[in-house]
Amino acid sequence: MRDVAIIGAGETKYGEHWEKSLRDLAVEAGLKALEDAGICAEDIQAIFGGNMSAGSFVGQDHVGALIADFAGLAETKIPALRIESACASGAAALHAGYMAVASGLYDIVLVGGVEKMTDLPGDMVTDILAGAADREWEVFLGATFPALGAMMAQRYMYEYGLTREQMALLPVIAHKHGAMNPDAHFQREVTVDQVLNAPMVADPLTIMNCSPVSDGAAAVVLASADIARKYTDSPIKISASVAANDYISLHARNSLTTSPSTIEAGKKAYKMAKKEPKDIDLVEIHDAFSIIALIGIEDLGFAKKGEGIKLAEEGQLYYDGDLPYNVSGGLKAKGHPVGATGVGQVVEIVKQLRNEAGKRQVPDARVGLAHNVGGTMTSSVVHILEVM
């Protein structure tokens, strides 16, 4: 295994892109990443693309071929594979790209993620996203994806005494950061009262505890570390890339308040990167629902079980705090184009580690962690990145 670095990163703005198609978004992000790396499309030896459900959202499968084709790469005959792991598809694609370069099979690959979600009415989107859970034994009975998240939250409140007011701090922080990110879906701050009084999706989660339905794409260019400096003065090393899985349905797990796959991925990632939680300068944590972020913070070792919310209460999660959290705005404010999200988290960390994040720049950021999950924290993918 050899070291792998990110030599270029790019993404579209996240949001409702009525004027742009799936292929438009993916090609835009991919070309931005190539331009950032200062390489031509012909330099790419393979493409790994994260996408959850283009087949359902826009009736398009064979996404890898489509994107490579419209990026102008059909003549190069390079492989373009689509990777799916529900909302963790983006990070799963990065894991695949990492393996491809680390193994020595390829020297330079493009990793992308894309989702086009706003071409369908809300109830159909809800139904497609529910496919991240067990269709026959959760969704068939009426469980929506937010309903499953809500049951995690309800149980967490029962076990640890968390209040809705406390949980509302996480979207407030995410929106504070989103307001400083020109690529975020929502660029405005919100208050605890606005979170609490927003329409209820699944009790106790209001719509402000849930990430939005967004269109968007993100991409990074990976190269073996030994050639990375030929292309950029500021390569970012992928110190750890770990994926883990668990029972797909929430009811099959012993606990609703912890994610064994996140614990597993986190532990292995820290070991692989030779880091500890205290070494991490900023985190992008999967906050599809506030409760998932809270469980993620704890299971990744940043707080004891039941005490994660204290970090929010003490102000440590702001971009100038001790554990800058979702400085991009997170899934909540930056947006959650599901297949793009995991790659987009990494794009944010690359910007931060290169000191290019503008108003929301975390001071002296050298090591970042990205946590992307699929389903009800069923699949977890953790990446640790650092300045080379």
Binding site: G122, D123, G142, P146, M151, L205, L250, L256
Partner: protein
């Protein structure tokens, strides 16, 4: 949606039949062909197991935004039910006001219509849960 997708599960859904691993005794619902604890030792040996339908609310929520097919039921209560046999089961709780549901509430399974596939499509049946009022009374007396 075509019929076989629902037809093939009807025996388990209508009767709350899961499986039990003869190696370790763990009961699973829905049925599994492989026991996650015993792996290949369980292959071909998993036995059908009838659940009693009794249980307690492990967690719950009130759903205000539905998946397709549940539009006219909302708001409705979804729950994860802990059964005395071991497995937890996801299902709706009906015949009770949402504000009366609590974690630990005794419930029992009932056979109900779950959803329908449009006006002309098939009607899907399965299990839901209702409060076990008798057990709740006994619990109240006990405390």
């Amino acid at each position: 949606m075509v019929v076989p997708r629902f037809w093939r599960e009807r025996r388990y859904r209508y009767n709350l039949i899961g499986t039990r691993c003869p190696e370790c005794g763990t009961v699973y619902f829905p049925p599994r062909n492989v026991c996650p604890k015993c792996g290949r030792k369980s292959l071909g040996k998993m036995e059908e197991f009838q659940l009693s339908g009794e249980g307690k609310v492990y967690s719950y929520t009130i759903v205000h935004q539905n998946v397709l097919g549940f539009k006219y039921q909302k708001p409705y209560i979804m729950a994860i039910i802990e059964t005395p046999e071991g497995p937890k089961i996801t299902g709706q709780i009906v015949d009770v006001e949402p504000e009366k549901v609590y974690i630990g509430m005794p419930v029992k399974a009932v056979f109900r219509r779950i959803a329908e596939d449009g006006k002309a499509g098939i009607i899907q049946y399965g299990y839901k849960f209702v409060p076990d009022w008798n057990k709740m009374e006994l619990e109240k007396e006990g405390t």
